[in-house]
């Protein structure tokens, strides 16, 4: 299944890769140049040894290029070097230094390039995920997105940092070795490399083969983790049913399975290393023996034999890594594709003129319709008006469209028909950031950022004074609660901090919204987890505070509803009733039934308490 999914990402999107490179491309080039220098320097080491052995110590002719020999002659030739053998040793150390420095540069540059690439990718993803429309987030899975933004980015980064240069290095090394070796002796070169292709193909085939065992081992580990997790989260159930023994058996089975599958994988690796070592050393042996035979015949010098054997040994490792590199290339391509998929989602756009008119808080819905798809209307033909400073309460069952209605006002969605006017301007013509910052909203399940309570409340106004923050918290009836925490306003909440109860979160979110000082505010059932007394206290404090704020409240608490200037009753996406408490109570309908609960309660109490019941 994984395979099928991966197929659609088989191709690298070069345009995307290029744009993510943004200024870091040259570092790849630098790294490649440094790599070339390092390879050349690395190959010089054995040549110096060979030169020393053949020319300086032995009496053979030198096979070094003419310009090097001229330099040697200028120094004083063989005699000088024989007397000062340290020069050869120093040359060897110097070339290692060059090699070392170039290797350092290669790794440093590629680190700069790949980390820059990864940073650009992360930034782009983060920015983009904030810019895509609300609807995308509503349907996407957080876990999957986070995985793409983290582990997929890392897979691509790792490939660039480790494998990209590895490919180049293999190519450079093989070609440089070929050049040097072929210039020494063609037959000997061919013999020295006869098994290398076998090694490359073998490693390629091998890494294709172990993929399956890798998957099995990964799956077994996943099973082990999830079994453990289930046991730990369900520890109460395990104990309450006295199932410790059967849980242990279950865990043991998973633990054994993971051990066996992974052990098998490791053994496969052992087989790979063992057999590729065999091939590699056989190649070295062939080279050595042929070299010996050639040297005996006088066709090669001792130094040259040493060059061949050293080079072959240097080549076997990169060649046998080739299979792994190619396997990783496949993985990186898939990961890049998964990242690309996110970046391809279109961002939220401005449908109109993006103006910034003065917003006082007058709102009008004119025949507004809305649906997530063409077949199913969530809201149809909604029309009403709200004057600045009015309180509008919305009542309706789950799925009646209450939340969609206020989301339209925030322009988290666009109306499919009709229009919404704020102070006479169609909201589609107001810049969305401007519009949203003039409409405060508290969601039913508010989200707090992982930072201190103080920072959360003051998040829209980073320059706010502590007094302002405390004042907002007091209105939201959460000041006392916060002071009850050990660290007070500096308590960290959210993901990595203290977990607040639903009601506490709602109240902190109310305080945060108040800091916006918006002319329009919305409570999307945002006091549902707050007890009725606190609810009343918050509403009283709000009433005292607000001067001319248009307020929308979604609630089914009758005490909240009856204080509103206007109540909207929604059923199945239609506005079935609107009016004041007095008007609606007089009419048959949902509102009247809710309003009459008090009567039902009194009847119930009277029944339970018998004759003494009732007031």
């Amino acid at each position: 299944m994984q395979d099928r999914k991966e197929k659609k990402y088989r191709k690298i999107n070069w345009k995307l890769a290029g744009s993510l490179m943004k200024g870091n491309g040259r570092y790849i080039l630098f790294s490649a140049l440094a790599l070339a220098v390092a390879v050349v320097a690395a190959y010089c080491g054995p040549l110096i040894v060979s030169f020393t052995v053949d020319y300086v110590i032995g009496d053979k002719a030198s096979n070094l290029p003419a310009f090097v020999m001229r330099a040697v002659e200028n120094l004083g030739g063989r005699e000088f070097l024989r007397g000062n053998l340290w020069v050869c040793a120093a040359a060897l150390v110097s070339f290692t230094l060059v090699n070392g420095y170039a290797t350092y540069l290669r790794r440093r540059y590629i680190a700069v390039a790949s980390e820059g690439f990864a940073m650009e990718m992360r930034n782009r993803l983060y920015h983009h995920l904030q810019a895509v429309p609300y609807d995308y987030h509503k349907h996407a899975s957080t876990g999957d997105l986070v995985q793409r933004c983290t582990s997929d980015v890392d897979t691509v980064r790792r490939f660039m940092a480790n494998q990209l240069m590895e490919i180049l290095r293999t190519v450079f090394m093989v070609s440089a070795a070929c050049y040097i070796m072929f210039s020494l002796d063609v037959t000997m070169s061919l013999i020295s490399m006869v098994l290398l292709p076998v090694l490359g193909v073998f490693s390629f085939v091998y890494f294709g083969m172990v993929k399956e065992q890798f998957r099995l081992s990964d799956e077994a580990e996943g099973k082990l983790s999830s079994t453990l997790q289930e046991n730990l989260t369900g520890v109460r159930v395990v104990r309450a049913f006295g199932q410790e023994k059967s849980e242990l058996d279950k865990f043991t089975a998973c633990n054994e399975d993971f051990r066996n599958k992974t052990y098998k994988l490791i053994r496969l690796f052992g087989g790979y290393f063992g057999s590729s070592d065999f091939v590699g050393y056989t190649q070295i042996a062939i080279t050595l023996l042929t070299g010996v035979a050639f040297a005996v015949k006088g066709r090669l010098t001792l130094g040259e034999v040493m060059v061949f054997t050293t080079y072959v040994a240097m080549l076997t490792w990169p060649v046998r890594q080739l299979g792994r590199v190619l396997a990783d290339l496949g993985k990186a391509t898939v990961s890049l594709g998964r990242v690309e998929e996110i970046l391809a989602v279109p961002e939220e756009t401005e449908p109109g003129t993006a103006g910034r008119p003065v917003i006082k808080g007058e709102i009008e819905f004119r025949g507004v319709c809305f649906g997530y798809d063409a077949y199913d209307d969530v809201l149809s033909d909604i029309s009403f008006t709200a004057k600045p400073g009015q309180t509008i309460a919305i009542l309706g069952s789950t799925g009646s469209g209450k939340t969609s209605l206020v989301q339209l006002l925030q322009r988290l969605y666009l109306c499919t028909a009709g229009e919404i006017l704020v102070d006479g301007v169609n909201i589609n013509d107001i810049e969305r950031g401007y519009l949203r910052s003039h409409i405060g909203i508290v969601l039913q399940e508010p989200f707090l950022y992982s930072r201190t309570i103080k920072d959360n409340i003051g998040i829209v106004r980073p320059d706010a004074m502590a007094e302002d923050i405390h004042a907002a918290a007091k209105i939201a009836s959460v000041h006392e609660v916060i002071n009850g925490f050990e660290a007070g306003y500096d308590t960290i909440v959210g993901e990595r901090g203290v977990t607040l109860s639903g009601g506490q979160k709602q109240r902190v979110a109310i305080a945060r919204m108040l800091m916006q000082n918006a002319p329009i505010i919305i409570f999307d059932d945002s006091m549902s987890a707050v007890d009725t007394e606190t609810d009343a206290a918050i509403r009283n404090a709000l009433r005292e505070r607000r001067v001319n704020t248009t307020t929308f409240i979604i609630s089914h608490r009758i005490t909240t509803l009856c204080e509103a200037d206007k109540i909207l009753v929604l059923e199945h996406g239609r506005l079935v009733q609107q009016g004041t408490h007095a008007e609606l109570v007089a009419r048959e309908g949902l509102y009247r039934r809710i309003a009459r609960i008090q009567n039902a309660l009194e009847e119930d109490l009277a029944k339970e308490l018998g004759a003494q019941g009732g007031e």
Binding site: V53, V56, L92, V93, L97, N99, G100, Y104, R107, R108, A111, A118, M119, Y126, H137, V146, D154, L224, S226, L228, E230, L232, T233, G234, R236, V237, A240, F241, N255, E256, R259, I266, R267, G270, G274, S275, D277, Y281, A285, L288, L289, V292, G396, S397, T398, Q410, L412, R436, I439, F447, P462, E495, R496, H556, R557, I594, I597, Q598, L601, E608
Partner: protein, 617 residues
């Protein structure tokens, strides 16, 4: 959660290597006798072969090339291929033995820790986050077993190789050997220093990386809030700062490892240079042959590999110290609730119960002057006394934190009283085993927990030997069968991890069926506050009524219907019973219960009206 955060900080610094802990961990390695012996043997063989190759070349150079003859080359070839073949098998065995040790060590540690986790009391689970335990059990154990096993075999190889090469060099020419070996001490010191620094930087990268993951998580989960607060720019600003830090830290870590290798190579080449220089002079004066020179050059070129490996193992040990402490700490956690040896003798332990000696439970529960506190000096229950007759239904109401759950946990012996006694059927429950009580107890949680597996497996969780007939009867009793049969594969439907494929209401019904099948005498219910649709709500209420019938029960109640039908309602405030009696009696008091009831009534009633509307949809 908070203690997890604090403890994770231990991972940020290098702790002192505590030999005692590593000795204990190493026992897990040594318990694999065969693999250990095989590892020692193979490593010796491989190291010796590694040492032999340059000697083979030396022989070839001196005897064939030097003398200009190929006489005797056949045995030489043969020996060479014997070596190669032996090495191939050696390498295979090396990897296989290390793998075997690694997997057995992690298996054993996990097994032991898991057993421990099944015995630890709830006070432990209240203080310890599941995520923390998962990290110990999965990644820490994995890391330690990898380090112990591969570290062990690498150590064997590297030390054999180093010692072997030294001996070989000294035997070939001790003067030259001593000169070439001069580079080893600085090589070792520098390697250790760098390895440590590199690990430190890598740790910083990992830490920043987890912050990035957190930031993505927050950015995605809080996307709507960010939109409504128009925080996109500010958030992006903060994020790009973080990703900038990440880039910087990663480049730094990479640069440190990039510097390390060249330095090691350079030091190594000094050794080679010395060999070439002094050896070359020796060759010229005829003190040694070309072959010896070539062997010296090869040895000095390969020396830095084992040295830096040894340094790496040392550095790893230090950086894994925190993991080692945590894992050993988990295995060593003392048990707070332990059955006395006499009790274990008679009733058996958690894994080997002696059911034949268990007395049946009738379900009488008594609290006798019970005090209880989670923390010293903070009394949650004070001098609490309560007598519950067999079959009586008790509803507990009161605010969060008043002590309702504590009472329930004490009944289940998830905790034991700080002072006073809890009697089951007239005897202190500490005179019987934990399993005796818990196996006779039914418990349904606020958030129902199912295990992955089929619906059937889940219903039969408490009684693995139940027949098909009994399972179906239990499901029918709570009217769960209807929805079960609606599933594609009926009772064989997989519920998914944690029951994820079922709705909350469905999970609740299954957890009731599970209790019915186990048929406990004492039943504990922590009622859910989250609402389910009206229809399921009705089914659940019926199920509760069925489960309660004839059983002693304690209910942390939220629904009016459940509260109303209880035999006795206890209002718990501040660890004491402030009001108790039947629904009607308590209403007459017009106290706390009266207020609670009237508020709740309004909420439930308006909720019900709105739900009706939703269902019409």
């Amino acid at each position: 959660m908070s203690n997890t955060a604090i403890e994770e900080q231990d991972y940020d610094r290098d702790l002192k290597v505590d030999i005692g802990i590593w000795k204990r961990l190493f026992r897990y390695v040594l318990s694999n006798k065969r693999a250990c012996v095989l590892s020692v043997v193979t490593n010796m063989v491989i190291a010796l072969i590694d040492i032999a190759y340059p000697l083979m070349s030396r022989y070839a150079i001196d005897n064939f090339i030097g003398k200009g003859t190929t006489q005797g080359i056949l045995p030489f070839i043969l020996l060479y291929f014997v070596l190669i073949t032996a090495q191939a098998f050696g390498v295979y065995s090396f990897v296989a033995q290390a793998g075997r040790i690694e997997m057995n060590v992690s298996f054993d540690i996990r097994q032991q820790a898991f057993k421990k986790l099944q015995e630890l009391s709830f006070s432990f689970y209240d203080k310890t986050a599941v995520g923390y335990l998962m990290a110990r059990m999965v990644s820490d154990v994995g890391r330690l077993s990898e380090l112990l096993s591969w570290g062990f075999v690498d150590l064997l190889w590297a030390s054999t190789y180093v010692v072997g090469v030294m001996i070989a060099m000294l035997l070939l020419n001790w003067k030259l050997a001593l000169l070439a070996l001069v580079v080893i001490p600085p090589l070792a010191v520098i390697s250790l220093y760098f390895k440590k620094r590199i690990l430190q930087y890598q740790r910083k990268v990992r830490k920043t990386n987890s912050r990035i993951t957190g930031a993505f998580n927050e950015g995605i989960m809080g996307a709507v809030t960010t939109k409504t607060l128009v925080r996109e720019k500010a958030n992006y600003g903060e994020f790009s700062e973080l990703s900038g830090t990440m880039r910087q830290a990663s480049v730094k870590a990479a640069v440190w490892s990039a510097i390390f290798m060249p330095i090691v190579m350079f030091l190594g080449s000094i050794g080679t240079g010395i060999a070439l220089y002094k050896g070359g002079v020796d060759v010229m004066i005829g003190a040694i042959g070309f072959g010896t020179l070539s062997a010296f050059v090869s040895y000095t070129m390969n020396f830095f590999e084992p040295i830096q490996q040894l340094a790496g193992i040392l550095a790893e040990l230090q950086s894994a110290q925190a993991s080692a402490e945590r894992v050993i700490g988990l295995i060593d956690t003392p048990l707070e609730i332990v059955d006395s040896p006499e009790v274990v003798e008679k009733y058996g332990d958690n894994f080997h119960p002696k059911r034949e000696n268990w007395e049946p439970i009738t379900g009488e529960v008594e609290f006798e002057h019970v005090d209880f506190s989670y923390k010293e000096g903070e009394c949650v229950l004070c001098d609490f006394s309560l007598h519950v007759k067999p079959g009586e239904n008790i509803a507990l109401v009161g605010e969060t934190g008043a002590g309702k759950s504590t009472i329930v946990n004490l009944v289940c012996r998830f905790y034991e009283p700080t002072s006073g006694r809890v009697l089951i059927d007239g005897r202190d429950y500490r005179e019987r085993s934990q399993l005796w009580l818990q196996a006779g107890l039914g418990y349904v949680l606020q958030t129902p927990h199912l295990f992955s597996g089929t619906i059937r497996d889940n219903i039969a969780y408490g009684r693995k030997d139940a027949t098909e007939q009994e399972i179906r009867e239990a499901a029918q009793m709570v009217r769960a069968e209807e929805f079960i049969l609606r599933q594609e594969r009926g009772y064989d439907t997989e519920v998914g991890e944690g029951g994820a494929r079922l709705s909350t209401g469905e999970k609740q019904l299954i957890s009731f069926a599970r209790v019915i099948l186990a048929n406990p005498r004492i039943f504990v219910l922590d009622e859910a506050t989250s609402s389910v649709d009206t229809e399921t709500e009705q089914l659940i209420q019926e199920a509760i009524t069925k489960v309660l019938r004839g059983r002693t029960s304690f209910i942390v109640a939220h629904r009016l219907s459940t509260i109303r039908s209880a035999d006795r309602i206890l209002v718990i405030r501040g660890g004491r019973i402030t009001e108790q009696g039947t629904h009607r009696e308590l209403l007459k008091l017009r106290g706390y219960y009266y207020n609670l009831y009237t508020t709740q009534f309004r909420e439930e009633a308006s909720g019900a009206i709105l739900d009706e509307k939703a269902i019409e949809n």
